[in-house]
Symmetry: C2
Amino acid sequence: MSADQNAANEDSIPNAPALLALDWGTSSLRAFLMDAEGRVMLERASAHGIQNLPVPGNGGFERAFAELCAGWLERWPGLPVVAGGMVGSAQGWKEAPYVSCPADTDTLASRAVAVDSAAGPRILIAPGVLYDPPDAAPDVMRGEEIQIAGALADHPDWRRRACIALPGTHSKWAQVSDGRIAHFATYMTGELFAVLSRHSILGRLMPDEAASAEDAKRAFADGVLAGRDSRPGDLPHQIFATRTLGLTGRLPHAALKDYLSGLLIGHELTSGLAALRDTLSPDTPLLLIGDATLCRRYEEALGILGVAVTARLANTAPRGLFQFARAAGLIA
Amino acid sequence: MSADQNAANEDSIPNAPALLALDWGTSSLRAFLMDAEGRVMLERASAHGIQNLPVPGNGGFERAFAELCAGWLERWPGLPVVAGGMVGSAQGWKEAPYVSCPADTDTLASRAVAVDSAAGPRILIAPGVLYDPPDAAPDVMRGEEIQIAGALADHPDWRRRACIALPGTHSKWAQVSDGRIAHFATYMTGELFAVLSRHSILGRLMPDEAASAEDAKRAFADGVLAGRDSRPGDLPHQIFATRTLGLTGRLPHAALKDYLSGLLIGHELTSGLAALRDTLSPDTPLLLIGDATLCRRYEEALGILGVAVTARLANTAPRGLFQFARAAGLIA
C-alpha cells in the first residue's frame, strides 16, 4: 500500500475530526483529517493522481479513495468529504466546470458537484476557475484556487489585496481583491525549462553534474537580469544564449541550466510584476506558495529585481479545502 | 546510392566547370558544379550531413565526398573545391574557427582551413561567424554567412545596407552594412515550435489533421498579433493560450498549431524588426532566404505587421560558395 498511514497516531486523536479533505491532483492524492478549527489532525498520501489510478475509469477513483482513507471512513462514517484539484476536471471523477473570475470560496461552493462514492460518503468536488477577458486569451486554474483560499484564510489584510504567485510547471500569478481572485495568468516556465533542457539543442551542452554554488548563483542572476532587460519578442533569441555562452566559454557548461532557469524565471517575473503594477499599488503584499526550494529560487530572483516577498507559504491546500467546506455549509 | 546523379545531363556539359562547391550541413550534403560566372551547371545531393555520415569519423567525410562526387573528380581532377556549413564546425571534417563581425567573404577566405581529401582535391572550408558584443550574449552562425554572401553577390544596393532574415529551426536575422555582416541574432523559433508541439502539454490538444484554410489563417494571424502586442516577459504566459483557446472553444483544435506558430513567429518578428529599427533606416531592404513555404509564411506574418518584404530568395548557398572561392583566389 502506497499510503502513509501514520497508524501510530490514529488512536491518539483526542477529538473527532470535522472534515476529510482530499487534494487530488494529476500525480498524487493527499487526504487530510481536519478538526473544527481547520487544523490538520492526520494526513495520508498516495501516488494515485488522476493520471496514475490503480485501475482505469471511475473504479480507479473509487479504489484510490477507499484505499487511502481505509479505517477513517469506517470510524467516522458521517464525516463530510471535500475534494479539490484535477479530480474535478474533464478527466477527473466528475467534472466540476470552471467558475469565472472574480471568484472566492462562496463561488466555488455554489458551483461544486457531488459524487456519491461506493465507500459511503458523498464527496463535494470544487470547480476550477476561468479568467476569460474580452481583450485577451482565456486562462484556467484548477487546484491553485484552493491553495489561494487557504493562504487568505487567516489574513484579512491579504484578503483585501494581494498578489499571489504559485511557482511550478505551470506557474500561476493571481491578483486578489476583496477576498476574491480578480484575475490571473499562467506561465509555462517550469515546463519550458524541462522541454528545452531535455528535448532541444540547449540540453546538449548541459552536463548532469551541478555547477559550483558560486557559478550557479552568477549564471542564475545573469539569466534573471537578461529577462528583466528584454524587449518584446526577445525570448526565442535569448534562450539561444544558453548555447553560445557555453560555446564561447563565458559560462561553465555546468552552469548553463542555471542560466536558462534564471532567464525563464526572469521573464515570468518581469511580466507578472508588470501586470501587478497595472492594477495594484506598489505596497501590495506579494506571496509565494509552493515547494520550498522553488519558492526560495523565486525569492532570490525577485531580490535580484529589487522586489521583496511578503511571505513564503508551503502547503495551503488543506486549509483552502476547509474554507471551501465551510462555504458549502458542511462545517458549522 | 542516395545521390541524385543527373546522369543524363553530365555528358552534355558544353564547358568545363570552374568550381565544385559543397554545401555541407547537419542533415544533408549538396554538391554543385559551377561555371566561371557562378552559375550552377549540375548538382547532386545526399543525406550524408555531418550527423549522418556513412561511417564514423574522418573516413565518413572522405566517403561521403568521394561517393557524391564520383565521376566529377576523375573527369576534372584540378577543379577547385570549397565547402561551407557545419563541415567546418568542431564536429566537422576540420574545424574552421569562427571569424568575428563585421565579416564578408574576404574575412571568411582569410581564415578558411584546408583539408586534403583522400579522393584527391584539397577542400577549402569556410569558417562560421561570431557576433560577440561586450554588452550582450554572443551569437554564432555557420552556413548562413554563405547564403548571405550569395544573396548580396549581384545586388550592390543590398550590399550597401540590408536586413536579411533566414527563417528556420534556428532563424537568423543579420544586418548588412557596406557589404559585411555587421551583427546578427539567432531565434530558436522553429525548434521552440517543435519541442512545444511534440513534448509539452500544448501538443495534447493538437490533432494530426490540418485546420481549414480559413481557420488556419485566422489562428495564425491571432498568434502573430498576440506576439506583436506582447510586453517583455510575456511569452511563457502567452504560449499557454494554445491550450486555453482550445479548451474554451475559441479556436478549433486543428488550428491550435497555427496559433502557436503565429505567436512564436510574431515574437521573432517583433524583436527582429525592433533591432532593425535601432540601427537601420526604415527603407532598408528586407530579404527572406530559405525554404519557399516557410518564407511565404514569414512574409504573410510581416504583412500582418504592415511590413513589406523586398525579396524572397531560395537557395543562395551555391552562389555564396562561389563568392567565397573567388575571395580565396581559387577563381580568376
